[in-house]
């Protein structure tokens, strides 16, 4: 008699099991869709890009005719602007993050947070236009201005990441340091920041990866160039993303193809940064 007590009134359970299966299936399908899109992009850029890679592609300067020349000057440009953008954006962003985490529980802090979140949403082309009006009209084309534009794009991301990571450092750690008679600034720089370092570096790498591929703000600031320019303070300079943009809008098919080669360089650079960021984050957890 009692043996079917548990199975009798379980119509709801059967239905729940079915719904559960369907929902799991849908979730899998969407995940697969996202993955396919990602793999497709990577695979396509690879197959198109690898065809134009050759030694001369990396050692020659740009030519927007013939076979498109190489990206030597563009890589130098990207190296410059990424370096300068990191030098400007990281200290300012990290300091802003420290301020927000440690002293930012007031009106000014809320205002800065609001500004940062708004800034993060501003289209990059607007930032480029802003720098154009501010610097380029006076100084002429230069890579430093391009780096400034990228730094502005990186700033809010770095500031908010840093704030979040610092807030994750347990209050007890901070207390322990203060109770040892260490002043607040030493507590921050010698105890809290080292504890948060891995997270902050991860955030910086992701922000750099984001900025390295930006094109629009560079059009307004460093313009692009077919020649090698190693002075970031003066004159137009190329960048890998600018090369992709300019070569792909060329009327010649060979030049258009060369854009894929540069796109692949950019893709590999960004993926590498992402992997490093992941590795640091994982090592911290272990």
């Amino acid at each position: 008699m009692a043996s079917n007590q548990l199975t009798k009134a379980s119509g709801g359970f059967q239905r729940r099991k079915v719904v559960d299966r369907v929902m799991t299936g849908i979730a899998y399908a969407f995940t697969a869709f996202a993955l396919v899109a990602l793999v497709w992009v990577i695979a396509y850029v690879m197959s198109r890009g690898i065809q134009v890679w050759s030694l001369s592609f990396f050692t020659e300067t740009t030519a927007l005719f013939g076979d498109g020349g190489g990206i030597y000057n563009a890589m130098i440009g990207t190296a410059w602007i990424v370096l300068l953008a990191v030098l400007i954006g990281v200290p300012v962003g990290v300091m802003a993050g420290i301020y927000l985490a440690d002293f930012g529980d007031n009106r000014l802090g809320d205002f800065i947070r609001f500004t940062a979140d708004t800034m993060a949403g501003i289209p990059s082309i607007v930032v480029g236009l802003f720098i154009y009006a501010l610097l380029i009209l006076i100084m002429g084309w230069n890579a430093f201005a391009g780096a400034c534009a990228l730094a502005i794009l990186m700033l809010p991301v770095i500031a908010r990441t840093t704030e979040g990571i610092i807030r994750l450092v347990p209050g007890e750690i901070r207390e322990a340091s203060l109770a040892l008679g260490l002043p607040q600034w030493k507590t921050m720089f010698r105890v809290v920041l080292p504890t948060a370092a891995a997270g902050i570096i991860t955030g910086v790498f992701l922000a750099v990866a984001r900025a390295a591929g930006e094109t629009a703000p560079l059009i307004f600031t460093m313009l692009g160039s077919n020649f090698t320019n190693t002075n970031p303070l003066e004159g137009a300079m190329s960048a890998v993303s600018l090369y992709v943009y300019q070569a792909s809008s060329s009327p010649y098919e060979a030049v258009q193809n060369a854009a894929w080669g540069a796109a692949l360089v950019l893709l590999i650079f960004v993926l590498t940064l992402n992997f490093i960021a992941r590795a640091i984050a994982l090592r911290q957890k272990a």
Binding site: G181, L182, K186, T195
Partner: protein
């Protein structure tokens, strides 16, 4: 508040070399969080080379009070005090006094073990010294061994000084935190429920370490463990809160033996005998 009888305390093994332990005197101290008064009008004398235990029901302001003794209270949001806290006759709340110096002289160990996660066992012990200024390696080596011995941890960790501080067991971490506090050679050590997050064995080890430490230091400890308070302290302060929303008060203070056998006030007796709280 009778405390004159304290001179005949047990085992006065201290008093040999440098006696750094100091008397603290609290005068009419009230502590606030913004408008909220958490502790009101506490006065007591904390004797050197003695263990003073603070007991009382949850929320009656023991942690708040002990944190006023080394100016950690003012780190909390809206934390401020009225009254005086004298260390060897000098008011630690005087305008000319640097709170950073106060905290070096009056060390603190917290409820939850909090070693620095990015530092080795070795570096944790000397963190307070190293981050202040440069020291010779040989000097630091000496401090590490001495302090770990005082904290009754040396034998357990002498082979893993370079391991991460957070890789030790909870009880070892807490003794590491005690060693870290001792390394600054403070005059007073404050402990806020140092054993409440630990198993009975670890708790016992900390209690033993304390008995050794009082030969050199003045010790104040907050505890919920009545056996621990009655066994290992010389004076006991009972904090009590009359009604919800009221500030906590020092309800009764005296020699531990008297507080546990024959207290003046009914609430104290009820609490130490476990009838409430």
């Amino acid at each position: 508040m009778s405390q004159e009888g304290g001179k005949a305390g047990p085992q006065r093994a201290g008093g040999t070399s440098s006696v750094t332990a100091q008397t603290m005197e609290v005068q009419n101290l009230s502590a606030y969080y913004n408008k909220f008064k958490a502790v009101t009008d506490v006065s007591m004398k904390i004797e050197p080379n003695k263990v003073t235990a603070l007991i009382g029901p949850s929320g009656c302001g023991k942690s708040t009070f002990i944190r006023t003794l080394n100016r950690m209270h003012e780190i909390a949001r809206g934390g401020r005090i009225e009254g005086k806290v004298l260390l060897d006759g000098e008011d630690i709340y005087d305008d000319r006094v640097d709170p950073v110096q106060v905290r070096r002289k009056i060390g603190m160990v917290f409820q939850k073990p909090n070693p620095f996660p990015t530092m080795s066992v070795y570096d944790n012990v000397v963190a307070g010294l190293k981050l202040e200024r440069r020291h010779k390696k040989s000097e630091l080596d000496e401090v590490v061994e001495k302090m770990l011995r005082q904290a009754a941890l040396w034998d357990e960790v002498k082979d893993k000084l370079s391991a991460n501080g957070t890789d030790l067991s909870g009880g070892q971490q807490q003794r590491l935190c005690i060693a870290r506090t001792l390394a600054l050679e403070p005059q007073v050590i404050l402990l806020d429920e140092p054993a409440s997050a630990l198993d009975p064995m670890s708790s016992q080890k900390i209690e033993d370490a304390m008995q050794e430490l009082k030969e050199r230091y003045t010790i104040v400890i907050v505890t919920h463990n009545m056996q621990q308070a009655s066994r290992s302290s010389d004076y006991t302060g009972f904090f009590f809160i009359e009604d919800m929303g009221q500030p906590g008060q020092l309800w009764e203070f005296g020699e531990t033996s008297k507080m546990f056998s024959n207290p003046e006030r009914q609430e104290t007796e009820d609490y130490v005998t476990g009838r409430f709280g």
